[in-house]
């Protein structure tokens, strides 16, 4: 019988297959991918030499350690992004090794490798530039965060509370237009403590000449005049936005600093950030500057369109309402009255015509959603026109219906009820509950 030592030798002589290394790598890779998909934030600390003479808080030091990420994930769920041309992507990011806990700011920016993969055909130079811009954007964000932190701490906040803020700066880019001659890129960011305020930065690259394009380059010597005219005229068309007067801080003129990107049509689109020329509720405002000819065509087209619609003005149903609050009470009362008549007559077809789809029906045994008139008809008048519902509808005082965000509710004691409101500009039934 061999002894343990010999057996051990046998053990050590167990041959290692070539494949082992592969399998190990594979397993690691799979797990990395899983991790990246789940992870959105990685702590970063910036390397900075700040000597704080103010006592306890230690200076923070951060070291960048680039980690290769070669995957990128589509779809950003934190913020809705208008899809213009290429999709905005959430890309993987450089991760940073922590050295000090105090800053507690997380940053996510696309990694250079991802940029390379994404921007096929671009030179390394350009990719580096893009990366650099993202970094810059992130740095500025970090600066803002730090300032905020200082203010926070100096007004009595504790480190603990700061940590709970979970400051996160996320940077990504969106390709606005990409041709052989030029590349127009928007660097966007999100700083989660400033309630979704983002200011985009735009870089318009002339690929042949390797320089950044200016409005002048695109619109010519007269660029200021051309742009101003276009913007002014668009402003007057956009009546839904209450642009500020020039003396209130509103739009005066474009300049060399005016932000713009180039869209797929090759036209510059001037962008004004929130609160730049109008109240914040309007958000970021964009104006496409086309040269004269296109605009004129547009004007002609809109003229034709308005001529057509004026003929319809006699019909009430074409009145466009913005929301439930902008409907005048007589229109509300009329609509409610219609509903009453329809319910009294148990006319399911007419009811279906008054509804918008998808229409929610909250049966007591469980709510469903019908997507078309036919589906509603299938349910049958008996199921819909219950005696309780009829009672509730008839009991409603149509002249005293008051608007709410959810709509107007026709009911006696709360349930059952019929809810209608503004959908697609007109009044329509949105839900029936039992």
């Amino acid at each position: 019988m061999s002894d343990l030592r010999e057996t051990k030798k046998k053990y050590e002589e167990i041959p290692i297959p070539e494949e082992l290394h592969q399998r190990v790598e594979e397993a690691i890779r799979n797990s990395e991918e899983k991790r990246k998909a789940e992870q959105k934030i990685v702590r970063i600390r910036r390397k900075k030499k700040i000597v704080k003479t103010v006592a306890a808080v230690a200076g923070f030091v951060v070291v960048f350690t680039a980690v290769l990420n070669t995957n990128f994930v589509f779809a950003r769920e934190v913020q809705k992004i208008p899809v213009i041309g290429n999709l905005a992507r959430v890309l993987t990011f450089r991760s940073y090794e922590e050295e000090d806990e105090n800053l507690q700011i997380s940053v996510e920016i696309p990694s250079i490798e991802t940029i390379e993969e994404d921007m096929t055909g671009m030179t390394d130079e350009i990719n580096q530039e893009i990366y650099h811009w993202c970094e810059e954007y992130a740095n500025e964000g970090v600066e803002r965060a730090k300032q905020y932190r200082e203010a926070f701490l100096s007004t009595g906040g504790t480190e603990q509370e700061w940590m709970e803020h979970n400051i996160k700066i996320t940077v990504w880019y969106e390709v606005k237009a990409s041709t052989e001659e030029y590349l127009s890129l928007a660097i966007k960011g999100n700083e989660n403590w400033t309630s979704a305020y983002t200011e985009d930065k735009y870089y318009n690259l002339d690929l042949k000449q390797k320089k950044l394009l200016s409005l002048k380059d695109l619109l010519g010597e007269n660029y200021i005049q051309i742009a101003n005219e276009s913007i002014q005229s668009q402003m007057s068309q956009r009546t839904e936005i209450e642009f500020w007067e020039p003396d209130q801080g509103g739009f005066t003129t474009v300049s060399d600093d005016t932000k713009f990107y180039i869209n797929q049509n090759g036209n510059p689109v001037v962008v004004f950030g929130r609160y730049e020329i109008a109240p914040g509720s309007a958000g970021q405002i964009e104006f496409e500057i086309t040269d004269g000819t296109e605009e004129k065509k547009e004007q002609e087209e809109t003229q034709e369109a308005t001529e057509e619609t004026t003929q319809d003005i006699t019909q009430e149903t074409d009145t466009q309402y913005e929301d439930n609050f902008s409907v005048d009470s007589s229109a509300v009362a009329d609509f409610a009255n219609e509903i009453k008549n329809v319910v009294a007559a148990q006319d399911l077809s007419a009811l279906a015509d008054l509804a918008s789809y998808p229409l929610y029906i909250g049966f007591s045994e469980g709510g469903i959603s019908v997507n078309t008139k036919e589906e509603l008809l299938e349910l049958g008048a008996e199921r819909i026109f219950t005696p309780e519902l009829e009672e509730a509808v008839q009991a409603t005082e149509e002249s005293s219906l008051s608007p709410s965000m959810a709509g107007f509710s026709m009911t006696k004691d709360g349930r059952p009820n019929v809810v209608f409101g503004v959908t697609g500009g007109r009044l329509a039934i949105q839900g029936i509950n039992y």
Binding site: D3, E6, K10, I14, L20, V24, A27, R35, R43
Partner: protein, 163 residues
């Protein structure tokens, strides 16, 4: 915790992959299965890397995972075998290659699960008793006792093998 820890775990695994392979092999006794076991173990480990509280304990932590995966693999295999007996229609039953080692090795395989773990970790992987205690999650004295018992069963001269 976080990236740093993760990377260190990955490094540790990559550096010691041969050891883990051999240990798995000592259980499953063939190449393909051993590869599978190692891969599974790595996946399990990295998926739950946050469970590792202290990076210093990565060794025993990972060994534990490898051992458990090996044993799990065998159990599943046995289940499949038993279930498979009824399903001849599934095609030819391919006999799994069972690598012969020496007698003692086979005898070790016969030992009960806990004792076997301890013997293997001690003599093949040269873990300290403390480390073994961590891997098998028993206290030190229990480990010693089982170790001696195992050696007795294997009829090994306790003096000979330096404990």
């Amino acid at each position: 915790m976080g990236k740093k820890q993760y990377d260190r775990i990955v490094n540790y695994i990559v550096e010691n992959q041969n050891k883990f392979y051999r240990l798995a092999f000592s259980y499953v006794r063939n190449q393909d299965d051993a590869l599978d076991v190692v891969q599974n173990a790595i996946c399990k480990a990295l998926d739950h890397y946050t469970a590792l509280r202290n990076i210093e304990a990565v060794k025993t932590w990972f060994y534990r995972i490898v051992v458990n995966e090996s044993i799990l693999f065998l159990k599943n295999q046995k289940k499949e075998y038993l279930a498979g007996e009824e399903n001849y229609a599934d095609g030819p039953y391919i006999e799994k290659k069972y690598e012969p080692m020496d007698e003692l090795f086979d005898q070790i395989d016969q030992l009960d699960e806990e004792v076997q773990k301890i013997i293997k970790l001690r003599f093949f992987e040269e873990l300290s008793l403390r480390e073994i205690a961590d891997v098998v999650q028993m206290n030190l004295n229990t480990v010693k006792a089982k170790l001696y018992r195992g050696l007795k069963l294997l009829k090994q001269n306790i003096q000979e093998v330096d404990l």
